[in-house]
């Protein structure tokens, strides 16, 4: 029974606890409330009210009225989820069932898997707030996120129907094209940081100021000022590519509801559709998290002390640990609101224009940006 002693039970238990906390405690609620935010923010933009009256049905348990918190309508995601779960799970007769069932899973799982390497906080209860602190963090993110395209391609293919098919063709070429500029635009950042580990990326930004806002460490050197130019270009390209990777408007061609009805998930219903739907939002959260980690200092709050592994069990350390986690997700939510804002403002690209933008502009600029970064790193001390 010796081998049992060799298994790092503590590590497994801690990782499991962190995963459960991250996925079920934070990300899935954020996913469902992003859907709610999408509806409320779009309503705000469009002079409407949006869902404002679904409370939590505590009247079912003998209370006089349903619970209405803050804005009202906060029970909407619960109601939506119930609806998706209770709808008929319909599989059309003409589909390839195996891939038809596999596709929604492939849309959801990679988006959630990328969260494994994202440091969402510093230390709490003597634990580092990242599920897997691997030294190839960003590579892992790109590798896993690129699997997400299979969900869409398989959905379109197995549906055996023309509109989903066109949608999935668009999706595959779009996502593969924009992965290039996504990866290339991250390179200057990695060159500056000199490490692929995302925890180290945050540590660098604590020491030298956030990459996008280099004054957050209280000082601004000439080198930081010069480096800010390629970093800013990277940030723009990275964000645009992230829109394309997550199929958000103005790049929502795979779905484009006015052209392809509902694109790749036309034939899907009930929970299988919900998985695509939530997968898109989970991918948005993953994408926003990467933007936050690479450009906006991750969980770091400027001008505030940082707790350490030792201090993270003391009351002050615990408070700081929670503050860091909150700061991280507050930044993520900020980016998410930006995603939503853009979606309800801009029209949609055409397929060839999208390809042109990706290959002729973003790709080239990202490539040149790498050389500019290298030059600055080499000559500006």
């Amino acid at each position: 029974m010796d081998f049992l002693n060799d298994i790092p039970w503590m590590l497994i238990a801690a990782s499991l606890a962190k995963t459960l906390f991250l996925i079920f405690g934070v990300v899935l609620p954020i996913v469902s409330y992003t859907v709610y935010a999408e509806r409320r923010v779009s309503a705000l933009i469009q002079d409407r009210l949006g869902p404002n009256r679904t409370g939590f049905p505590i009247s079912l348990f003998g209370f006089e009225k349903d619970l209405q918190l803050f804005l009202g309508g906060l029970g909407q995601p619960v109601a939506d989820a119930m609806k998706f779960l209770l709808k008929e799970e319909f599989t059309p007769a003409h589909v390839n069932k195996f891939y038809f069932w596999l596709a929604p899973v492939l849309a959801m799982v990679p988006a959630l898997s990328t969260l494994a390497v994202l440091p969402f906080g510093n230390f709490l209860f003597g634990q580092k707030m990242v599920v897997a602190d691997v030294n190839v963090g960003i590579l892992y993110v790109f590798a896993v996120a690129s699997v997400g395209v299979y969900g869409i391609v398989l959905a379109g293919w197995s549906s055996n129907s023309k509109y989903p098919f066109l949608g999935s063709i668009r999706a595959s070429s779009q996502m593969i094209s924009y992965e290039l500029s996504l990866g290339l635009s991250a390179v200057p950042v990695l060159m500056i940081i000199g490490n692929l580990n995302l925890s180290e990326a945050i540590q660098y930004q604590i020491d030298n100021g956030w990459l996008l806002l280099p004054f957050t460490d209280g000082k601004l050197t000439l080198r930081e000022l010069f480096l800010w130019i390629p970093v800013f270009v990277s940030f723009i390209i990275f964000t645009i590519s992230m829109f394309a990777e997550t199929n958000r408007l103005p790049f929502d061609l795979p779905e484009s509801e006015t052209e392809l009805v509902a694109g790749y998930h036309t034939e899907y219903s009930a929970m299988k559709f919900a998985l695509f739907f939530l997968g898109e939002y989970a991918a948005m959260i993953a994408g926003s998290s990467i933007i936050v980690v690479l450009f906006l200092g991750g969980w770091h709050v400027p001008f505030l002390p940082i707790n350490t592994l030792e201090s993270s069990t003391t009351p002050a350390g615990i408070a700081l640990g929670f503050l860091h986690i909150t700061a991280f997700f507050a930044k993520v939510v900020g980016i998410l609101i930006f995603f939503i804002w853009v979606r309800w403002t801009l029209p949609r690209f055409r397929f060839d224009q999208l390809m042109k933008l990706g290959w002729l502009y973003l790709f080239e600029i990202a490539l040149v940006n790498i050389f500019i970064t290298a030059a600055i790193l080499a000559w500006v001390k």
């Binding site: 933009i45 469009q46 002079d47 003409h94 069932k97 195996f98 061609l253 052209e259 029209p347 690209f349």
Partner: protein
Amino acid sequence: MAKGSAPAVKAPWESAEIVKYFTNSACWLLPHPPTVFSFAAHTMAVTTQPFEQPDTLAKTQTALQHLAAGNSGATDLLGEKLILNMGPSHPATHGVLRLVLEMDGEFITKATPDVGYLHRGDEKIAENMTYNQFVPYTDRLDYLAPLANNVAYAMAVEKLMGWELPPRGQAIRVICCELARISSHLLGLGAFAMDTGAMTVFLYTFTEREKIYNLCEVISGARFTTSYTRIGGMTRDLQAPFFPMVNKFLDEFIPSLDEVDALLSRNRIFVDRTKDVGVITKEDAISYGLTGPNLRGSGVDHDLRKKHPYLGYEKYDFDVPIGSAGDCYDRYLCRVEEMRQSVKILRQVLETLPSGPITVSDPKNLPPPKTSVMTKMEELIHHFILHTEGLKAPVGEVYFGAENPKGELGFYINSKGGGVPHRLKIRAPSFVNLSILPKILPGHLMSDVVAILGSLDFVMGESDR
């Protein structure tokens, strides 16, 4: 038209040949149980239709036979085309237009519009009722501008009767027409923007349309199916609350339109999506008989309000916007500017609104006032006869075309006398405007189809009538 004179028209996709290559080719691209997905073949449902998948030689032979039979077209690509059925229920077809698209990848090689899914037989219905009874049917032609349809129809019958409305009646009808134009263009604009992906614009324009519906309610009592005109006048005069409401609307409308303008007109994505897309040349626009903003977008200066003024349009000072390129963007700009001009006309009408009667003075052909119907026997009989037999229309035929929001809405009436038309033909602008689709769609991308459909701004209630 003599029955049976036209040869039996067979839609292209009904011919056996195309069905054959539809079954042979389009579905090669899609999963095919025995060959493509042998791994999961046992899970495929029994209802899956197996398609023949000929090899290259067989494909070549089919193509050669196709060519030998005297068919033209890209026969080498014969096996690679996809027939996509767009509509009649599709988010971008604004109702029930059906388009059968032949596609090479995302490019359209052939487009065949199929109309008639909303056919009610309005023209035949008109032959079976008196002139006034047909007014509610005109609401349902271009149901985005019912007031303008009411006016156009009433004007046609009045032309047959040889009537001219008193000045106040004419001015009220101008108000109706221009409100309807704004309402219709707002929806056209919003739907166009939504087709290109900008959904917010649609809701902004709908907010404004809602105010126009409120105005319609004050004018006619109904928000949507107004049925406001009667032959020789209107159901009632404008009510006092209308004037402050319409002035408030006109004040609020222009800033709102500016906002929409700011969201779209110089938006790079929107301009890229619409500029040089769906170009209709001047010659094509004329030869296909386009009217309305679609014609003017192509640079033809033709507006019935200017060319054949009716309802006293010559008294008002307004401009007719003309496009230059004839693309989707020009048609969009034309509509935006037409709304501004409509506001200008409305302000002038409201300033100079004359007083006096709103109906013609022909007591024999107009219903007597309700008070006298209830008190006098002769008036009761007159009321009864008028509403059962209809007007005493003269023998003859007339055509009247009005500049409606979508184009020239014309009514041709062939009368053999009496209260019922012998034949009534509606020249629906949407129907004519749609006829250019097979000409302009080929060569465009799938995404352009929705932009072009949006920019043509048709409504199927009118096209199919």
